[in-house]
């Protein structure tokens, strides 16, 4: 979408459409000759948990910093609640950030850190202690109110950083890989706490991560970035079930990419044939490992595409088996419910509905 030279009222009308809290319109950012973001447009609804997902260097943190105000977009606009946001300095934006390394003020105690935003923005003195205590209760850190950040563990600092941002009642909370420095267990725990906090408070979260599991677990919608461009934006279920591109399909979960030739409504890939609605030509399909099933004891479903393949490798992981199958030089990965050792040639099937056409 482009808004070339759009006059303000028009743009305001667009920004105000629907219940979008934040609208990023055609934003690009370059550092010198390096293009970090290319013409990104997306909207965040009020109360939504949106995740910016991508590898390092995909531009997700840059986009966050543009919204926070630490960087200026090279082109494009950012709107919040019908107001132009990108022209405001960071301290005038009703946006707060939880930084990757927490960025707690080392010379202030926990309660001074949490009260900082209230103090500098001139909240009535009498009101501050109560709000600080509330915020600390919210993240279960009240007993550490008088400690300095250096005395706290990573997880505790994380909570304080969260309280320090939330106490200002931002319209939008930006979280820059906030859990990446925590160990796996703590991370899982913080994930569920974050999610329930977000639901309770109804604050809109914009969360940056490179961890697709985290993105899946937390988000209402995921915006996948690749090389500074928006690859796909959709709910976790949607993006998993219907990846738009081969990159999305491989980045989110595992998949088999099948390069098929379509002729007369039939897709052909190696020895596999299945009916497809795409026009004739070369099409890339994504077929998730769990869409491949071992032949049933009873009859096959009516639309089943059956094939025989050699089990080359089998890895047991408790509830399921990860298989590597070979048929006519093609390698497929399958995930089936745990069912004991398999050997030699077996019969498998999949439903053509699970083969999703994706762009390269």
């Amino acid at each position: 979408m482009t808004l070339p030279g759009s006059s303000q009222p028009q743009a305001a009308a667009i920004a105000g459409s629907g219940d979008a809290l934040l609208a990023v319109r055609n934003v690009a950012k370059s550092f010198g000759a390096r293009e970090v973001l290319r013409h990104i447009s997306l909207e965040i609804s009020s109360g939504e948990f949106l995740t910016l997902l991508g590898e390092s260097g995909s531009g997700k943190t840059t986009l966050l910093r543009l919204i926070a105000g630490f960087e200026q977009p090279s082109t494009g606009e950012i709107w919040m609640s019908g107001e132009r946001l990108d022209i405001l300095p960071p301290y005038k934006r009703r946006v707060n950030t939880v930084f990757q390394n927490y960025a707690l003020f080392p010379h202030l105690t926990v309660q001074e850190n949490v009260g900082y935003g209230l103090q500098v923005s001139g909240v009535a003195k009498a009101e501050i202690p109560g709000r600080v205590t509330n915020a600390l209760d919210m993240v279960k850190m009240r007993e550490f109110a008088a400690s300095r950040p250096a005395k706290l563990s990573g997880g505790q600092q994380q909570r304080v950083a969260l309280a320090r941002a939330l106490v200002n009642r931002p319209k939008l909370l930006l979280l820059d890989e906030p859990l990446s420095a925590l160990d796996a267990n703590l991370r899982k725990q913080m994930q569920s706490e974050l999610k329930s906090l977000q639901r309770e408070l109804g604050i809109t979260f914009l969360f940056v991560t490179h961890d697709q599991d985290e993105a899946m677990a937390l988000s209402d919608r995921i915006a996948l970035l690749k090389d500074g461009a928006l690859e796909q934006i959709a709910s976790p279920r949607e993006i998993y079930a219907h990846p738009a591109t081969s990159y999305t399909a491989e980045f989110i979960g595992q998949t088999n990419l099948l390069r098929a030739e379509i002729r007369n409504g039939v897709a052909a890939c190696g020895s596999l044939r299945w009916s497809a609605s795409q026009p004739a030509g070369a099409v890339l399909f994504s077929l998730r490992p769990e869409a491949l099933h071992l032949a049933p004891d009873g009859p096959f479903p009516s639309d089943a595409i059956r094939f025989r393949a050699v089990v080359r490798q089998q890895i047991f992981s408790g509830s399921s088996e990860h298989l590597e199958l070979e048929l006519a030089g093609q390698v497929l990965r399958a995930r089936i419910p745990a069912r004991g050792a398999l050997a030699g040639e077996q019969e498998f099937w999949f439903s053509p509905a699970d083969a999703v056409a994706v762009q390269e």
Binding site: A68, G69, F70, P89, P90, Y91, K92, V95, N96, T97, F99, Q100, N101, A103, L104, F105, P106, H107, Y116, G117, V120, S121, R148, A150, R164, A165, N168
Partner: protein
């Protein structure tokens, strides 16, 4: 583990060095301060006469206080010059950082004496400053109080010690994580509030170290008063120098030195404690 012999060999040189060139002279100075001069000879009679003289003769205390006033002025001016420079370089200079840093450092390679004489040629009655003022008709005759005044001493020492103030300040500003500045802005603080609530408190250790440099170095300076000072700006080190030289009253000179030493040590002790309290990393 290192052997005993190895530890001895490694630690002997510094211990000897400190013993011979630091502790021994201090001990001698300390001893001298309790002796007296009789008939042009130093008599080894232990007494407190020298210390009594220090407090009876108002000249010594007066000069000591003047020295401290000059040191305070130099410290303050160096901070006023050094802090904005360090702040600008650390936060806003970007590409020019290295060049500016070199420009600050380069004067340190020039001899103290050369810089002193440079001020003489600038401030003298036939000097650059007077010439300029007369040229633009601000003054008709050479202004005489530029040179040979406490003003000249403060000016020269400020010029010389500003880099000493700048360096620790710059280092401490460079160590402030930039995301703290961003966090402050993010929480609604403008640049003023961010400076006074985050940057200044976190730069206090460097500020203190720089101020201590300027103050202590000025306290012991005797060349600036000799070169550009004149009689009205005699400092305590000049008195010590003349007592050890022409006046040949080593015991009194030693007593004054002991006082300055105690002053300096307590100052260093105090600032060290404060620096520890103000550093949070």
């Amino acid at each position: 583990m290192y052997s005993r012999a190895y530890k001895w060999i490694v630690s002997a040189p510094p211990i000897l060095w400190v013993g011979i060139f630091l502790l021994l002279p201090y001990a001698l100075m300390f001893a001298h301060s309790f002796w007296v001069v009789r008939d042009g000879m130093i008599a080894h009679e232990w007494n407190l006469q020298n210390y009594a003289k220090l407090f009876q003769n108002p000249v010594y205390l007066e000069v000591l206080f003047r020295t401290m006033r000059i040191a305070a002025a130099v410290t303050l001016l160096s901070l006023l010059l050094g802090y904005p420079l360090a702040y600008y370089m650390s936060f806003h200079a970007n590409m020019r950082k290295d060049l500016l840093y070199q420009l600050v450092i380069v004067p340190l390679w020039v001899s103290y004496l050369v810089r002193g004489y440079a001020w003489k040629t600038i401030l003298g009655s036939e000097g650059v400053l007077n010439g300029f003022l007369q040229y633009i008709h601000v003054t008709k005759e050479p202004v005489s109080f530029f040179l040979y005044s406490p003003f000249a001493v403060v000016l020269m020492l400020t010029h010389i010690y500003t880099p000493f103030v700048f360096l620790p300040l710059y280092a401490s500003l460079e160590h402030i994580p930039r995301n703290l500045v961003e966090a402050s802005q993010d929480l609604g603080a403008g640049s003023r509030a961010t400076f006074f609530r985050v940057i200044l408190p976190l730069s206090l250790p460097g500020l203190l170290a720089g101020a201590t440099f300027a103050f202590v170095l000025t306290l012991g300076d005797f060349l600036a008063p000799l070169l550009v000072g004149g009689p009205s700006s005699i400092m305590i080190a000049n008195i010590v120098q003349s007592l050890f030289g022409t006046a040949y009253d080593w015991p009194l000179g030693a007593a004054i030195s002991v006082c300055i030493l105690l002053l300096t040590i307590s100052l260093l002790f105090l600032t060290e404690r404060l620096e520890k309290r103000w550093s949070f990393r």
